[in-house]
């Protein structure tokens, strides 16, 4: 596809030793996980020591990477290294509940940790809370990075992001969850004994009272009691959730981090990508570029859809071979039309975001579920493109 955008040089990105974190993001269903895995494999085969954090890989892809053990730590993918024997690949799949539990266990004495783990509110929070997955992905990234600094096992971490409704959730959810847990509201509401409502004014105090009673009515008093004991327990054991989230967020703004936004050539996916690109700019986060994934390739052939259709119409009325040729021409015309529509959508994106570098990965006839398939995607990602 000829696209009027700077080329996203994948090999330059992967070969840049100052880049230590690559975050793959985009709308659901565009191929984030596969792209993250393909980038990781390619970097490892070019001699880097890579760890890839995947969120929810398809079963067969997970097996291909040896991710059958779910112990929430990176495992070496056997047999992957560069031509000169340098380079390695570790892979892991995020276990959100386990990660949260480990944060608790790592920061509280065993007895207190157990009390938190047993708390019903904690259990709801760590397994089904909106935003927990994003938060834990970020937490895990922070841990992996700290471990890398410590023992030097890998010099590049590639992260896949959770399948959220919006790609922005990855950036926003940790902050939302952190500020919620550290928020004044939760404290006032759950610790009336500490002088709740002091200094907040009569009307607000009245409303708090009203709210507490409504909440108790509809949820039962046990819920607020659970929330209260949870907050009290985390309060005394480890530092603010918000600070932890903030620290990882800062990591994402650092010069060693680079974002790769992935989109399929469809309206919705490109709209998500546009939101995300805007947001990265606002938050001064480093964007490497756009991977336009699963694109129907146009042919170099100078035979337009209209020409092919017209010729097909002429041939159809004749013999068997003519009918066959007509069918092939119609197939070609159909592909050209799909190509033109996708090019149009991609061009609208690049017109609105002219500085964003892009690379194009053609749609493959079948899904990827082995190392060889990932290698092929890697080759396509790094392929030279006309501009």
């Amino acid at each position: 596809m000829k696209l009027n955008a700077p080329v996203l040089e994948i090999d330059a990105l992967l070969g840049d030793l100052s880049i230590t974190i690559i975050v793959c993001t985009g709308a659901g269903g565009v191929g984030k996980t596969t792209t993250a895995a393909a980038l990781a494999l390619r970097a490892a085969e070019q001699g880097r020591d890579v760890c890839v954090l995947t969120i929810d890989p398809a079963k067969r892809l997970a097996q291909a990477m040896g991710l059958s053990v779910l112990d929430n730590t990176p495992r070496r993918v056997e047999g992957v290294c560069g031509a000169d024997g340098k380079g390695s690949l570790h892979a892991m799949m995020l276990d959100m509940k386990r990660t949260f539990d480990e944060v608790v266990e790592g920061h509280a004495d065993p007895e207190r940790a157990q009390a938190i783990l047993d708390n019903p509110f904690y259990q709801a929070l760590s397994s089904s809370f909106a935003g927990t997955q994003e938060y834990m992905a970020m937490e895990k990234l922070g841990q992996l990075r700290a471990k890398a600094d410590e023992d030097g096992n890998w010099d590049l971490i590639i992260v896949d992001t959770p399948p959220s409704r919006s790609a922005l959730d990855f950036l926003d959810a940790p902050e939302r969850l952190g500020s919620f847990l550290d928020g004044r509201f939760i404290r006032i509401l759950t610790a009336p004994a500490r002088g709740a409502g002091r200094g907040i004014g009569k009307i607000a105090a009245f409303s708090f009272g009203l709210f507490t009673s409504v909440l108790n009515k509809i949820l039962g008093s046990q819920v607020l009691a659970d929330v209260g004991s949870f907050v009290a327990a985390i309060d005394t054991t480890f530092g603010g959730f918000r600070e932890r989230a903030d620290a990882t967020y800062t990591l994402l703004q650092a010069a060693g981090t680079s974002f790769v936004v992935i989109a399929a050539p469809e309206r919705d996916a490109l709209r998500e990508a546009a939101f995300f690109v805007e947001r990265l700019k606002t938050d001064s986060m480093p964007l490497a570029g756009l991977v336009l994934n699963r694109v129907q390739e146009g042919s170099e052939l100078n035979l337009s859809a209209e020409q092919a259709t017209a010729s097909a119409e002429r041939l159809e009325k004749l013999g068997a071979h003519e009918r066959l040729t007509a069918a092939l021409l119609r197939l070609h015309a159909d592909r050209q039309r799909v190509y033109a529509r996708q090019l149009h959508l991609a061009e609208r994106f690049t017109a609105a975001h002219p500085g964003v570098a892009a690379t194009i990965v053609p749609a493959l006839p079948e899904d990827v579920h082995d190392i060889a398939g990932l290698r092929e995607i890697g080759d396509l990602l790094a392929r030279k493109r006309e501009t």
């Binding site: 398809a58 919620f180 002429r314 066959l324 197939l331």
Partner: protein, 325 residues
């Protein structure tokens, strides 16, 4: 199909066109003077985008007229508004509710109890279903819910187990029981939308198993964006094995005035035919896996120029031809 069903829940993997199918289903069910309600729950405003209207408020409004004079109405709900609604209906607290909302308290409540969110959303859908029983003047003949994706659907609908960890007694518990009595009954059908690709089909199979395990009533499978093979079975066979008659094709191209210097056109056409054959094979394999699920299955074509109202009518007609009533 599904004559006794009042609540149609439509789920599917992201990117499969769940909202489109839900809208087409609402149109098909609104045939001949009936009135249906299309609901969405995820703050995405997908319905407004699809019908090209301004964002929907928390209010039922007419969005399309079905063939034969029926009507489709639409409603975008969110947990905050549904909680205010709930407080109003059960506690007569509408005004206090708006104070609480200004303080961010409503947001807070739906955040500390994720199960509460879902029970409020499904509860709103069930409230609309119960209008039918009450023969209320504003009753619809059917409700179509554009629901969360397959990965979360069983948990979203199974509000009983969600709430059980939260509240053992009390109003919200009773509310959940009421919701469950509608959702797990034959008056509800949960449909899944898929594409003929490996991952969406796998998710659909997993989703069906999960719904069945939770004793939720599975309806049908909607295979979206399907394309007819553009070559005959024999031609596909030859395309696959690389035995299409290149020489004759070249001659035909000459006949048609497409002089082919160096065989560039022929080789491209042959490669494209081979790609096409591979894709047709893959789709056939995935189709088979869908059929093995043993559920009513509808194949909907790809509307190549993007979905508009005309495209939705086309899909709705196909659903009716397939027996959707």
């Amino acid at each position: 199909m599904w004559p006794g069903v009042a609540l149609h829940v439509v789920s599917g993997k992201g990117g499969t066109g769940k909202t489109t199918v839900a809208a087409a289903l609402a149109l098909a069910l609104a045939h001949q003077g009936k009135r249906t309600l299309l609901m969405e729950v995820e703050d995405r405003q997908g319905i407004a985008q699809l019908f090209d209207t301004p964002p929907l408020p928390y209010e039922e409004r007419k969005i399309a007229v079905a063939p034969g004079g029926g009507e489709v109405w639409a409603l975008a709900i969110n947990a905050q508004e549904a909680l205010l609604d709930y407080l109003d209906i059960f506690y007569n607290l509408r005004r206090a509710g708006s104070v609480l909302r200004r303080m961010g308290a409503i947001d807070f409540a739906t955040t500390i109890a994720p199960g509460l969110r879902d029970v409020l959303l499904t509860g709103k859908a069930c409230e609309v279903v119960r209008r039918i029983d009450k023969r209320a003047p504003n009753a619809y003949s059917a409700i179509v819910l554009d629901a969360p994706p397959t990965g979360r659907i069983a948990r979203f609908l199974n509000v009983n187990s969600e709430v059980s960890g939260l509240a053992k007694v009390g109003p919200i518990r009773n509310h959940a029981d009421l919701v469950m009595s509608v959702i797990s009954s034959p008056r509800t059908a949960v449909h899944l939308v898929t594409l003929l690709e490996e991952m969406p089909v796998q998710e659909t199979a997993d989703g069906v198993a999960e719904l069945r395990a939770a004793h939720l009533p599975v309806g049908g499978i909607f295979v979206n964006m399907t394309r007819q093979p553009m070559l005959t079975g024999e031609q596909l066979q030859e395309a696959r094995s690389g035995t299409l008659p290149a020489k004759s094709i070249e001659q035909c191209l000459n006949e048609a005035g497409l002089g082919d210097s160096g065989g560039a056109i022929v080789s491209t056409l042959l490669r494209e035919a081979n790609d096409h054959a591979l894709r047709v094979d893959l789709e056939a394999r995935e189709s088979e896996r869908i059929v093995e699920l043993g559920l009513p299955t509808f194949f909907l074509p790809l509307i190549s120029d993007g979905i508009d109202l005309g495209g939705l009518y086309e899909l709705a007609d196909l659903l009716r031809e397939g027996g959707v009533r």
